[in-house]
C-alpha cells in the first residue's frame, strides 16, 4: 500500500528524512518511534499528501478520500460547533448518511452533549476527541495518526484503545507515538527514527 524508495525531504538546508526505504502492506500497523524532530511527523505528512518529497519516490496506493489524518492540530474551526465542523468535512468527503455517521461518532467519543458548543470552548482533550471524530468520519482505509493519545485523559485514551482494536482488522495504520508500549500489541511493523 505504501512504498518509499530513497525517500528524502529537506526544509531549506536541513535534511529531515534521507534515503528512507519503506514498504507497508495493506492491513499492516506501522509504529513510528523516535525523539522530537527526528522526522516522524514529516513522514506522516508525506504519506498523507501534505508534503511532497524532495528526493526519491513515495507511492501511496490509496485514494485521497480514503486517508484519515490526525496531526498535532485538530484541524477544526474554533468558531464553529462540533456538529458544524463534522458536517463541513462530511460534505467535502461526501460521507453517505452523513448525519447518522456524525451522530454515532459524537456519541462514541462522548461529545454528543457538546455537539452544539463552539470548538473554542472545548478543552484540549475534547478537541482531540473531535479531531478523532473528523479523522474517522469518512471510514478511511489508511489511518495516519501523529501521537493520537496526546491530550487525552485516561477515559479518552481507553476509548481510543478500543477504537484502534476494532479498526485494526479493516484498516492500515501508520502511527507515531512517544508511548510505544501502549500500541505495541497492535503493531506489525516498527520504524525507529534516531
Amino acid at each position: 500500500m505504501i512504498a518509499a524508495r530513497k525517500l528524502g525531504r529537506t526544509f531549506g538546508v536541513k535534511h529531515v528524512i534521507r534515503d528512507l526505504d519503506l514498504d507497508v502492506e495493506r492491513g499492516s500497523f506501522l509504529l513510528l518511534t523516535g525523539p522530537n524532530g527526528s522526522g516522524k511527523t514529516t513522514l506522516l505528512r508525506l504519506i498523507a499528501g501534505l508534503l511532497v518529497p524532495t528526493a526519491g519516490e513515495l507511492d501511496v496506493d490509496v485514494r485521497r478520500e480514503r486517508i484519515g489524518f490526525l496531526g498535532h492540530e485538530p484541524l477544526v474551526y474554533r468558531e464553529l460547533t462540533a456538529l458544524e465542523n463534522l458536517d463541513l468535512y462530511g460534505r467535502l468527503y461526501r460521507v453517505p448518511e452523513r448525519r447518522e455517521r456524525i451522530g454515532m461518532l459524537l456519541e462514541r467519543f462522548g461529545l454528543w452533549d457538546a455537539r452544539n458548543q463552539r470548538a473554542d470552548s472545548f478543552s484540549r482533550g475534547m478537541l482531540q476527541r473531535l479531531a478523532l471524530c473528523r479523522t474517522l468520519l469518512h471510514d478511511p482505509e489508511l489511518l495516519v495518526l501523529d501521537e493520537p493519545f496526546s491530550a487525552l485523559d485516561e477515559e479518552g485514551a481507553s476509548l481510543l484503545d478500543r477504537e484502534l482494536v476494532e479498526l485494526r482488522a479493516n484498516a492500515t495504520f501508520v502511527v507515531s507515538t512517544h508511548d510505544p508500549a501502549r500500541l505495541e500489541p497492535l503493531a506489525s511493523q516498527r520504524l525507529a527514527f534516531v
Partner: protein
Amino acid sequence: MSAYLADVATLARKDLRLELRARSVVPAMLLFVVAALVVFHFALPSGSSELAAKGLLWVAIVFTALLGLTRAFVAEREQRLLDGLLLAPCDRSAIWLAKAVSMLGFLVVAELVALPAFALFFSGIDGATVAGVVLADLGICAVGTVLAAMAVAGRARELLLPLLFLPLAIPIVIGGVGASVVDEPARYLGFLALYDAVFAIISWASFEYVVTE
C-alpha cells in the same frame, strides 16, 4: 461539475458563517473605507476636479480590498486548517474559488457603504463607475485570494501580500479610473473584463501549486 460547485458552496458558506461569528473582516473593511473617504474629503482642496475624486475612490477600494485579503486565510493559518482542506478529496481550486467568492461578498458589502459615502462627500456615481467597480472586484478577488494563500505560507506575510498584490492591481486601477472618467468607457470595461478572465484562469490553475509544500 455539480460536485465541484457543491464543494465551492460548502466552503464559501463556511467562510460566511465564520465571518458572521467572528466579525473579523467586514467591520474592519467598512470602518477603513469610510475613514479613508473622510480623510480624502478633507485632504482634497475645495474646488478640486471630479476626476481627482474618482481617482481617490479607486485608491480607497484597492486598499480596502487589501485589508480584507490580509485576513482571508487567518483561520487557516493560525490553526493550520489549510491542511484539513487540502486533505479533503475536493479539487484544490475549489478552495480558491470559495475563498474568492466569500471575499467578493465582503468587498461588495464594503462598497455598498463606500459608493453612497463617496456620492455624499464628492460627486454622484454613474453606471460606468459601478460597472467598473463590479469588474474590478472580480479581478481583485481572483488575484488577491491566490496571493493571500501564497503570502500566508511566508514569514513576513503582512509585508508580502501588499508587495505582491499592489503591482498586480495597477491594471485594475487603470481600467477602473478610465471607466469612471471617460465619455466612452467600453474600452476600459473590456480591458477589466479581459484582466478578470486572464487572471482568474491563472489563479485557478496555479492555486494547487501555491498551497503544495
